[in-house]
Structure formats: C-alpha cells, structure tokens
C-alpha cells in the first residue's frame, strides 16, 4: 500500500511476486507506528500502518507484551481523529490486541462516547469492541446503553448489541439475563438478522427453563419468522422441545406439522434443516419420514455440490436406521457414484451398500472396485466398514465380498486403512464359519508382505487362536515360520507364540513344531529366545505326542479377563514394596461413560462459574473415597459402584443423585447433593432412609454432611448391613433433612439462626443387577466352552408384547446389568430373531455368561431362551430368578 500503485495494463508476469507487503519487517512497522503520536494526524498514513500491523498479526507474527502495550497506547491516540475509516481500523486493532484490564480503562471512555454517538457505524462497532474487551465490572456501567441498543431502530446497532449479549452470557449471565424484555422485543424486529440474533440470545437466556422454551417455540411457530437463519434456529429449538416432550407423553408428535411445513420454505437452508430434523426425531415413523426423504431426494440432483453433499450425508445416516425409507433414492444415488466430488461419491456408495438388496451386491462391488483407486484413505475406510456390515447382512455373499477385501488388502494404503480391512476380515471369519479358512489364508498372504508390525502381530495372534481349529492346521505353519526368518524381533516373538499355540492345541503337529521352536533358541533377540524356551519347557519339552496339560494351556494361552486399561492403571499405581503385585486386586469392571452427565443436560448452565465439580465417578476414586471414611473402612473390598441415579427432578431447589456401593456384607448409599439456591446455606444435611420395604437390610451408620453452600456439591452417606453373599433386593424411600440458613448473596453473610427442614426425594431400589458387575470377555465362545456345561441352566420365557425386538433386548440387558459381548447388543433392523451374549461377575467373584436368544412372533410377542453358565449353580439359578421376577 505504501508503494506506488502500478497501472492496470502492465504486464502481469513481471509482477508475479509483487505484494505491497514484500519485505515487511516487524521492527520497522513498529517504528512507523510512531506516526500515531504526531500532533497533526495523517489518517491515511495511520490506516496504512494499522493495516501493516494487522497483516503481521494475521501472518502469525506475535508482539511481545511491551510491544503490544506500546502499540495499544499509540492506537488510543487515534481516537482524536474523526476520520471514519481510520476509526474502523482502530476498532479492529484494539480487538486484535485484546488489551489487559488496566489498559481497557484507557479506551473505555472513548468507546462509551462512540457508543452514544449519532453515527450508526460508530455505535455498532463500539459496542462490539467494548463488549469484547470488557469484564463484568465495567458491564454494569454500560448496561443501560446496551439495553437501549438492543431495541435501536438501526438493525446493525441492534445486532451488534445482541451478538455481544450472546458472548457476554458465557461470562456474566446474571447481567445479560436482565435484558430479556428488550431481547423479547427485538425478536419481533422486522430486520431479518436482528430477529435471528435476538432469538438466539433469548433461547440461551431461557434454555434451562423448559416451560419457557416450549412457550417460545409455540408462539413463534404460529407466527411468521422472517429470516431463514432464525427459522433454522426455531427448527432446532422445536426439535429440542419435541425430544423432551416425547419422554412424557405419547400419541401424536407435537410440532411435527410445523417441521413438515418448513419443508416448503423458500430458503434451501430451512428446507434442509427441517428435513434433517425430521430424520433425527426419536423413533421416527416411515410416514413422518417420507416428505423429508422426498425433498432430500430432489437435492440429490441439484447442480450445487453443497446441496448434494448435505442431502446424501443425511440420507446416509437415515439408511443406518431406516434403510427401506431410502431405497426410493437408489437411482439418484447410483448416478452420484461418478460425482466429481469424491466425498459425495463415497457417501452415495456407502448408502447404497446399506440399502441395497442381495441381488445388487455383485453389481455394486464392480462399481466400487473401479472407484477405490482414486479416493482418499479415510473414505476407503468408510467403504470397508460398509462392506463389512453388508457381508454380515448377506452372509451368502461372503465370497465376493471377501475377495474384494483381500484384493484391496494387496493394494497400497496407510495403516488405518489396512487395519480397517484386517479388522473386517477378522470379524467375517468370526461370524461366518464358511469364510474362515478362506479368510485366514488371505491374512497369511498379507503378512508375507506387511509393513506394519502391529498388524502382523495381531494377525499372528489371531492365527494362533483360529488356525488350530481348522481342518488342516499344518498349512499355516509355513506362513508363520517364514515370519521367524524374515521379520523384526517383535513379529518374530509373536510368531513364536503362535507356533507354540499350534503345538499345544494340535497334538499331531507337536513334534514338528518343536523342531521349529528349538531353532528359535538361537535367535538374536532375547524376547524371541525367552518365549521359545518358555514354550518348549512348559508345553512339554520332550516333544512327544501327548496331550498338553489343561492348566498349562490356561496359563499360557487363556484369556486375561481383566480390562487392559484397568490393569494398566493398577500397575502404574503399584509402588515397589514387600508385597508383590496381586492381579486379583485389579478391578474387573468395564469402565463406562458416567451416565449422570448425559441424563441431566444443561443442568448446570455453562456460564455458572466452574464446571460441575462432582465427585469423581470411577471405581478407583469411589474406593478411595469410601475407604477414607472410618465408618466404612472395615467393609472390605468394594464390589461394585452403580452409575448415579437422579433422585430429584431437574431444575429443583436441591439436586440429589445417589450412587449405590455394593460390598460383600454391606451396601452404602452415597447421596451427591447440590444446593441451587444462592440465598441458602444448608447445614447438617442427612438423608433419612426408610427401609421398611427392604427387609433384609439393617441401617448401620450414617454420615451427615456438615455444610452445603450454594453450587458446591457435597456428599452424605448411609450404610446398611445385609446378609453375606446374598443378592438382597428392596426399596428405600428417602427424605433429605437439613438446617437451612439464610445467606445474603451479595455479601455472603450467613444468618446465625437456622430452621430445620425436610425435602422429599424419590425412592431408590436395590435390584439384582446391582450384584452383577459388567466384565467383558474377549472371545465369548472360548469363555463359554471353558466354563463348561456343569452349572448350565436353560429356560424359556415369554416377554409379552414389546415395542420392538431391540427394545426387548436392551430391557433384558439392563435388567441383568451385564456386559454385552462382541457387539451383540445391537439388533439388526427388521430382524425377527436375535442372539445376545452377555458376561459378568456375580458378587462373590463368580463368573457368569449368558446367552440370550430372542424371537419375535406376529404382533410383537417376544419370546426368549435364556442359557446361563457360571461357576456356581446357585448363581445360575439366581440369574434365572432375576429374569423371572423382572
């Protein structure tokens, strides 16, 4: 800019490298910034210097603290100039510098003057700048102007104030919440964007008040919202209301008509938002889906890539749950396979794979083969995953699909991609018995020329498990032993283990495998030698054809039924001591996401200071917490802690949830309490538990919470004694009792006198599932066979009419509280029968495995066959009792 302007018709090639910022240097520009201090300001020159400074910042240059302060003070001088253009640059510069609190004070008065200026551009921009850099204390001074600005007749000013309000709500919600009258007025604005911003702010102010949001939606869906953006917001809020309403009432879905009418809006973004909202409704019916699918289908043939992408992406998601609804779009989808945009093509392919029927598989596979070579790895992974699920859906087609997978396995590709293919083949081998031998050979071929150590070792391990069970195990030996010659030490060690497994499992091969293992004793790597020695000595060093001892097999090759993540944490916590590390002390519980946070979304508004600092929810943490309480320290080892259960409605004065801790002879209820009233301090908080409906339990101790100030959660405990090892069940009613003291929220002063008060909580139940711990097994079939049929109990149950098979399956799973294995908790769409595998550990450390077979018959009658195997016949019976009484 500082350089002379070149005439337009000059030859372009000569100035290919021309840039007004060529050779720009920070030090020099900072020097130039001195012009800001000139008594006679040159606005044009000043603007140029600011542009240069902004250019530097934009290119990633940083200013030191001192430099930034100097520039800031210099820039503040420019408020003297009345040049509009320069002022705009000053605003930008101040925002970029994000000054510190004491610097903000310098510009506050200038900005406040601009905020009340007659020039609309000044008002709007000054508001945005001031709100960006200010903190809460200043806000009270300017609040009056901001409220005025929200209802300003200039839409730019109103929008500036509203958007600033949205940002400020994150830091100072209590102030912004006072503006709701003005914001409400702005929602009625005739200016499209003002309406959008006002609606966004109003919703955020009220988002925790379900009733108010519902009212807002009801009134606006009747009226006319002008801006497409605001209409999109309204659709989002409406779906939120629908989602919450659906849990309480049944029958016709409220507001569906509104969503449907949005499908005829003139703005494409609104049509799409509505269509997507409909497809994502909980339990959407085919009738509700149809109009949405129709508009999305129209988008598929649009000339705009963005529209095609949006439509195909949404339909792809629909195809996962409602493949039949999408089949109408198949012809349009097929033409998208050759789309220029590879993302669109991939989404189209994978959608077709989900919706296609058995007869179209071969044709599709041909099309995909042509197309695989020119897409990125991440899309190839999507395709591979789609093919995997297709293969599980049409097991008869495994041959062509397996061939496809093995072909792409040979081609070039990154690790993630290869891993996806290998994983898919492994799953197919596991689930489709016919595919096993074929698939194993493909994997063997792959490791002949595999550059990824991780994959080689995984495949070798898998070969060791599956190979010996095939009709001709000997043919794999060559592939495995080749690894011992050609690979790095990690793979060689894995190969040795695999060889040993063949030796141990297939007696006929034993002598020959031993010859090979002995050669490994001369390997250059100590791990390889160690493994060879271990196996030679334990499996039977004489190499005769004798059956390997079962204990040895278990020791060497048995599965480790402890989650690896748990053993890792335990080992990290283990400090070298006299006592050796005890593997039995490792918790076996599979850690799941804490449910409580999902259950109560938005319960703690994000702006309300610190995030909910609830008690840590992992088992380790619970154990630590409980053992630190002297009353409970002699209860022994914690068996299981359940996920928190809410005992209060959301948005009530006091929020309480409970965590059940199960011990061998005791049960401890941990009540997590939160006081949501700023004007109150609770003291001596206890929960009075009435256990009259829980006969086998006797109250032992209770640990009150001394003080519960506003918004800082605390815990009180109640302990019960119960018969040892018996899964006693019962219902407990709870009453929160406390002394309430008034608090002045502004000063924080607490009144001396308190009043005793009570607060009714919801009931709590201890159910049989509380005595079962979720413990997964890596290979269900092996585990099932190794437990043996000694204590197997099989029975059949009629579950009566059920909403769907999936609902019945998840109901039984949650009733038993066990860990679903191998992904069997997912029920394929429209299937008439399903097998679900569960595993767990019953109190007293008894391993339990459950095989559930469901069938649905005619009008939603679900029947179930339950087979239980465990190490104790009482426990097997107990599981049946749980189901029978559930």
């Amino acid at each position: 800019m500082a350089q002379p302007l070149v005439k337009k018709d000059d030859d372009r090639d000569d100035e290919a490298e021309y840039s007004p910022f060529l050779g720009i240097e920070k030090g020099a520009v900072l020097q130039e910034a001195r012009v800001f201090n000139d008594p006679q300001l040159d606005p044009r020159r000043c603007s140029q210097v600011i542009t240069k400074l902004l250019y530097l910042l934009n290119q990633g240059e940083t200013f030191t603290k001192i430099e930034a302060t100097e520039v800031f003070f210099a820039v503040t001088k420019l408020f003297q100039s009345r040049d509009i253009g320069l002022r705009r640059m000053v605003y930008l510069m101040i925002k970029e510098l994000s000054p510190s609190a004491d610097e903000v004070i310098i510009v506050t008065s200038s900005l406040m003057k601009d905020m009340t200026s007659k020039t609309d551009m000044y008002r709007a921009n000054a508001i945005r700048v001031l709100c960006r850099i200010t903190d809460g204390t200043l806000l009270t001074q300017i609040e009056r102007y901001l409220k005025q600005a929200i209802v300003d007749k200039n839409p730019v000013v109103a929008s500036a104030a509203l958007v600033s309000g949205i940002h400020l709500l994150q830091t100072t919600p209590e102030i912004v919440k006072r503006w709701s009258n003005e914001v409400q007025e702005a929602v009625q604005s005739r200016a499209a964007l003002v309406q959008f911003h006002a609606l966004a702010l109003l919703h955020q102010i009220r988002q925790n008040d379900r009733l108010a949001v519902s009212k807002l939606v009801t009134s606006l869906t009747r009226g006319t919202v002008r801006s497409p953006l605001a209409q999109c917001l309204l659709i989002r809020y409406t779906t939120q209301v629908i989602r919450e309403a659906a849990t309480t009432q049944t029958g016709d879905r409220p507001f569906y008509d509104f969503l449907e009418s949005c499908l005829r809006h003139k703005a494409e973004m609104v049509i799409f938002e509505a269509a997507r909202a409909i497809t994502e409704l909980n339990g959407v019916t085919n009738r509700e889906l149809t109009p949405a699918i129709t508009v999305l289908q129209l988008f598929l043939s649009s000339s705009k890539p963005v529209l095609r992408f949006a439509a195909v992406r949404t339909l792809n998601k629909v195809a996962m749950t409602h493949p039949m609804a999408v089949t109408n779009c198949n012809i349009d989808m097929e033409s998208l396979i050759s789309d220029q945009n590879r993302s669109i093509a991939t989404l189209a392919i994978t959608t077709l794979l989900k919706t296609g029927n058995e007869s179209s598989v071969d044709r599709l596979m041909k099309q995909i083969t042509n197309f695989m070579s020119d897409i990125a790895d991440e899309f190839k992974i999507v395709v591979v995953e789609a093919i995997r699920s297709l293969c599980l859906k049409f097991p008869l087609k495994y041959r062509s699909l397996m061939n496809f997978l093995s072909n792409i396995l040979r081609e070039e590709g990154g690790f993630e991609y290869k891993k996806a293919i290998v994983d898919s083949i492994v799953i197919l081998i596991r689930d489709i018995p016919d595919a096993k031998e074929n698939g194993l050979l493909h994997l063997c071929e792959f490791i002949e020329d595999c550059e990824f150590t991780y994959l080689s070792t995984q495949i070798l391990h898998f070969l060791g498990t599956e190979g010996p069970k095939t009709s001709d195990p000997s043919k794999y030996i060559r592939y495995i032993y080749n690894r011992v010659h050609l690979e790095n030490a990690t793979v060689r060690a894995a190969a040795v283990s695999t060889l040993a497994k063949f030796g141990a499992m297939v007696d006929a091969l034993k002598p020959r495998v031993f010859v090979l293992l002995r050669r490994c004793l001369y390997d250059g790597d100590d791990e390889v030698r160690d493994r060879a020695t271990l196996y030679l000595n334990t499996v039977g060093s004489d190499g005769e054809v004798i059956e390997t001892d079962k204990d040895v097999k278990d020791f060497l090759f048995g599965s480790l039924d402890i989650p690896l993540a748990n053993i890792e944490t335990s080992l990290k916590n283990y400090e070298p001591a006299e006592q050796p590390f005890d593997i039995n002390s490792v918790p076996k519980e599979v850690k799941t996401q804490p449910l409580a946070e999902k259950k109560a979304p938005g319960k703690m508004p994000a702006g309300l200071g610190a995030p909910p600092s609830g008690p840590p929810s992992t088992v380790d943490a619970y154990e630590k917490l409980l053992s630190s309480i002297p009353e409970f320290s002699d209860f022994g080892k914690l068996f299981k802690s359940a996920a928190p259960v809410e005992l209060t409605e959301a948005e009530t004065e006091y929020a309480v949830n409970v965590v059940k801790h199960i011990f061998d002879k005791h049960v401890v209820f941990q009540y997590n309490c939160t006081n949501t009233i700023p004007e109150q301090l609770l003291e001596n908080v206890t929960v009075i538990v009435d256990a009259s409906e829980a006969e086998e339990f006797a109250e032992l101790a209770s640990k009150p919470l001394r003080s519960l100030p506003y918004d800082s959660p605390g815990q009180t405990f109640v302990a019960f004694e119960k018969p040892e090892g018996v899964p006693a069940v019962g219902k407990f009613s709870n009453m929160l009792r406390f002394i309430v003291k008034e608090v002045d929220p502004t000063t924080g002063d607490v009144e001396d006198d308190g009043v005793e008060d009570e607060y009714q909580l919801e009931d709590l139940e201890v159910v049989a599932a509380d005595y079962v711990m979720k413990v997964g097994v890596s290979n269900f079939r092996n585990a099932w066979e190794s437990i043996g049929p000694d204590f197997e109990r099989v029975d059949e149950y009629g579950l009566g009419p059920r909403e769907s098979l999936a609902e019945a399956v998840s109901a039984v799973i949650s009733l038993l509280g066990m860990q679903p294995c191998e992904g069997t908790e997912v029920v394929a769409n429209n299937s008439r029968s399903h097998t679900c595998l569960l595993s767990g550990v019953f109190i007293g450390n008894v391993k339990v495995l459950v095989r559930l077979q469901f069938g649905i018959d005619g009008p939603k009658e679900v029947a179930m066959k339950l087979a239980v195997r465990s190490e104790d016949d009482n426990v097997s019976d107990m599981i049946h009792e749980i189901v029978a009484s559930g």
């Binding site: 800019m1 302007l5 840039s19 007004p20 910022f21 006679q40 606005p43 044009r44 603007s47 542009t51 902004l54 934009n58 290119q59 990633g60 940083t62 009345r82 040049d83 509009i84 253009g85 320069l86 705009r88 640059m89 930008l92 925002k95 551009m121 960006r132 730019v156 929008s159 958007v163 600033s164 949205i166 940002h167 964007l193 959008f196 911003h197 966004a200 955020q204 953006l229 999109c232 917001l233 989002r236 939120q240 494409e268 973004m269 799409f272 938002e273 997507r276 000339s303 705009k304 890539p305 963005v306 529209l307 992408f309 949006a310 220029q340 945009n341 993302s343 990125a376 979304p601 938005g602």
Partner: protein, 179 residues
Amino acid sequence: MVKDTCPSIKNILLLDSEGKRVAVKYYSNDWPTNSAKEAFEKAVFTKTQKTNARTEAEIAMLEGNVIVYKFVQDLHFFVTGGEDENELILATVLQGFFDAVGLLLRGNVDKKEALENLDLILLCLDEIVDGGIILETDANVIAGKVASHSVDVGAPLSEQTISQALATAREHLTRSLLK
C-alpha cells in the same frame, strides 16, 4: 447441546494459489497455536487444491469439520464449521464473503488486489462473523458496511479502486481540517 445452539463458524480463510495466507480469521479454539492453524490451512489447501470450485462452491470434510470453499483467480475462499453444522448455512456465509469481496474489489478479485486492499478484506471479515456467530450474510450489506465511509463526493470512482477513492477522500478531509 451443540446442535441446539446457534450455528457457528469455526474459521474463515482466504489463501492464495500456493496455500499462503492472504487473510484468515479463527473463531474457535480448535487450533490454539499458529502452527496448528498453519497445519490446518495446509491440510485444507492440499485436500481441495485439485478440485474445481470455480463455478459452484464445493464442500469437503476434514478432521471432523465441514469446509465449504470457492476459488477465483489465484484466491481460495474457505469457511469451516463443525461436523453437525447445516452445510447450507456455511455455504451462505461463504457466498456472502465471496460476493462482498467481489464488490469491494470491484470485480478485480485476485491476490494482488486483495493485498492492496487488505484493510477492506479485514473489515469485511469483521462484518461477517463476530466470535463465531454470523453477523450478516448479504454481500451488499456487508460491502456497504465496509465501504460506507467511502461513498463520498462525486469522485470519478470508475477509474479508481475503492481504496484509492477512499484515500483521496481522506486527503480531502484532512486538508479541509488543516485549513
């Protein structure tokens, strides 16, 4: 939560034909450092480089983000949003930015012109999105707000770029003040 809230923009990028920055603005904390930002820009640029986004805006997904983009001459325009963002809203923002730059640069949309008028480009970004929230999507309104102070006197604008006209206007003003 994410979906119930306001549509939000994660960043707007204006890169040249080699993937270098002309002007960029980030609104989210997904890329905390300059090197993270540069890595993202490089990834976006490489991924989209070979596509034809000159007639219609194109779209891609990268690192869990949706990116809409459009090219003209040696300039590449990008708008990034979250994975679940309504693609058409992002496209509207892109179109607003693209057209506003076209208006401000009087149709001469290329890197040289953009750098010469970087002040206008930066103001333009500032008027489109504020802290991730869409401020305005109508190109005429955006350009109008950016250039509002230059629509001034009967200067022979036809032969000048806006910034030139702006400069003359400012000079006039200064002179009159100095008198």
